[in-house]
Amino acid sequence: MKSIIKYFGEIIGGFITLLTGMKVTARYFFTPWNNVTQQYPENRATLKIAERFRGEVIMPHNENNEHRCTACGLCELACPNGSIEIISKSVFNEEGKKKRAIDKHIYHLGMCTFCNLCIRACPTTAIVMGQNFEHTVWDRSELTKVLNKPGSQLMEGVKE
């Protein structure tokens, strides 16, 4: 008797689990406005990219052309395939002290694997991942970028 109850219990339980699965797919089927596909070239103007998408390494600047990079070189060390080169220079602050500052933060996009290690290594969050993914250029040399803008300076109050 016990085995008979178990047998039919298994059948009914199986049906319930199957119907649960079918309910999920039915919800997907009848709510087509929740579809995740994006018709890319047509919707370029309204394209929505996920927040965590890794398109390229960028260095945000504020309106006074200031960045947060202290030229510490940790990102250069963290990069597994050498796509970041830090060229630093010496500047004197108001007190006449010699300080290290960034001259050129060179980023080789063509060598980058978008692993995110440089962003995690950065102590001052000077570099972040941008969402631009349209990187097509006519010449390979254009893939080598200088991230800090010309004439830019270190933001006030950023400490190493």
Binding site: G21, M22, V24, A26, F29, P32, T37, Q39
Partner: protein, 362 residues
């Protein structure tokens, strides 16, 4: 020509009369055969291509995607483009393959699909032949298809193909039983194997409502076993992509592959059409016993429309299964058939016999 969307008998009769008025009986027969053959070829090609498109769209919707969108509006021409590509591809025969069997296998599969489609009535008067063992004919002919699958796997000289074919053989031989017994349950209820007789018996109510509990159980068993018999997911382990590349048709290319592909979708149509005929009343509109007004309103919708709506409903159900459930292991498949479906089916036949004996149906 007397054209009537509700009943095609006058149309076919007028064609026959006008042909036989000027031609000898042999020539009339030859011309009629040609017309019917061309019509079936056209139907299979167009409907097969449409089903491939529908499958891709339905699958995409179940996975929150859009599916083909680029070729033609909403990707409508996608399958036609795919078919043209398949037509132009090279036909490759593997080294040391059994040439005769290798070339024969796709034809067996497609011919079986064509033969079993021939007894299906699309609308009143729109059936190529109707005889007293129609249901039996469909089940017996459609099980020949497994020979094509086995030959394809055996002759390809490829281990993947062979394993896929053997699995398919074990599966179809098992599930054939459930399909047959589910149909027998309904034959007990209908009292005839003639397809026109079965449809006529549902004039006051469809069998799935008329036969209540045993009919619903038989319908569920039939749809499960029918899905297995067409080698579709979740029973698609004959062509399990992740394990066997493409199973029995791994080595086929071009138009021979297209034959297997087309036959799969035509078999899907046949299973859906049989479920429609036996359980959902074929081309018969939705009728409920004594409600004259309701029945008359339903009669306004042509039988052709009813038939295809019901077929699409069953096909949608089977696509829903395919894109929801994960694939079963081979031992699970045989367990499901021999330990669950078969005993339930046998009990269901007894239940149905009692229902018919004591007149417990509507």
């Amino acid at each position: 020509m007397a054209f009537n969307i509700y009943d095609f008998t006058p149309l076919t009769k007028s064609i026959h009369d006008s042909l036989s008025a000027s031609l000898s009986p042999t020539a009339t027969l030859a011309i009629e055969w040609t017309i019917v053959g061309v019509l079936y070829l056209l139907f299979v090609a167009v409907f097969g291509l449409f089903l491939v498109y529908a499958e891709r769209k339905v699958c995409a919707a179940f996975q929150q995607r859009l599916g083909p969108m680029r070729v033609g509006p909403w990707g409508l021409l996608q399958t036609i483009a795919d078919f043209i590509k398949l037509l132009m591809k090279e036909l490759i025969t593997p080294k040391r393959a059994d040439k005769l069997l290798y070339n024969l296998a796709p034809f067996i599969v497609i011919i079986v699909a064509f033969v079993s489609i021939s007894v299906i009535p699309f609308a009143p008067g729109l059936v190529s032949f109707d005889f007293d063992i129609g249901v039996f004919f469909v089940t017996s002919v459609s099980s020949i298809g497994v020979i094509g699958v086995l030959l394809a796997g055996w002759s390809s000289n490829n281990k993947y193909s062979l394993i896929g074919a053997m699995r398919s053989g074990a599966q179809i031989v098992s599930y054939e039983l459930s399909v047959g017994l589910a149909l027998i349950t309904m034959i007990v209820f209908a009292g005839t194997m003639q397809i026109s007789g079965i449809i006529e018996g549902q004039r006051d109510m469809w069998f799935i409502f008329k036969g209540h509990i045993p009919a619903v159980i038989a319908f569920i068993v039939f749809v499960i076993a029918g899905t297995a018999e067409t080698n579709r997911g979740p029973f698609d382990l004959a062509e399990a992509e992740s394990e066997l590349t493409a199973g029995f048709h791994t080595e086929y290319s071009g138009i021979k592959f297209a034959f297997f592909f087309l036959a799969e979708y035509i078999n899907l149509f046949i299973v859906a059409a049989m479920a429609t005929i036996v359980f959902l009343g074929g081309w018969m509109p939705l009728h409920f016993g004594e409600f004259e007004a309701f029945n008359n309103v339903m009669d306004l919708i042509p039988g052709l429309f009813w038939f295809f709506m019901k077929v699409f409903f069953v096909i949608f159900l089977m696509m829903w299964f395919k894109w929801t459930f994960p694939r079963l292991r081979v031992d699970q498949i045989l367990n499901l058939e021999w330990k669950y479906l078969l005993p339930i089916n046998l009990m269901n036949i007894i239940l149905m016999t009692l229902v018919v004996l004591f007149g417990l149906h509507f």
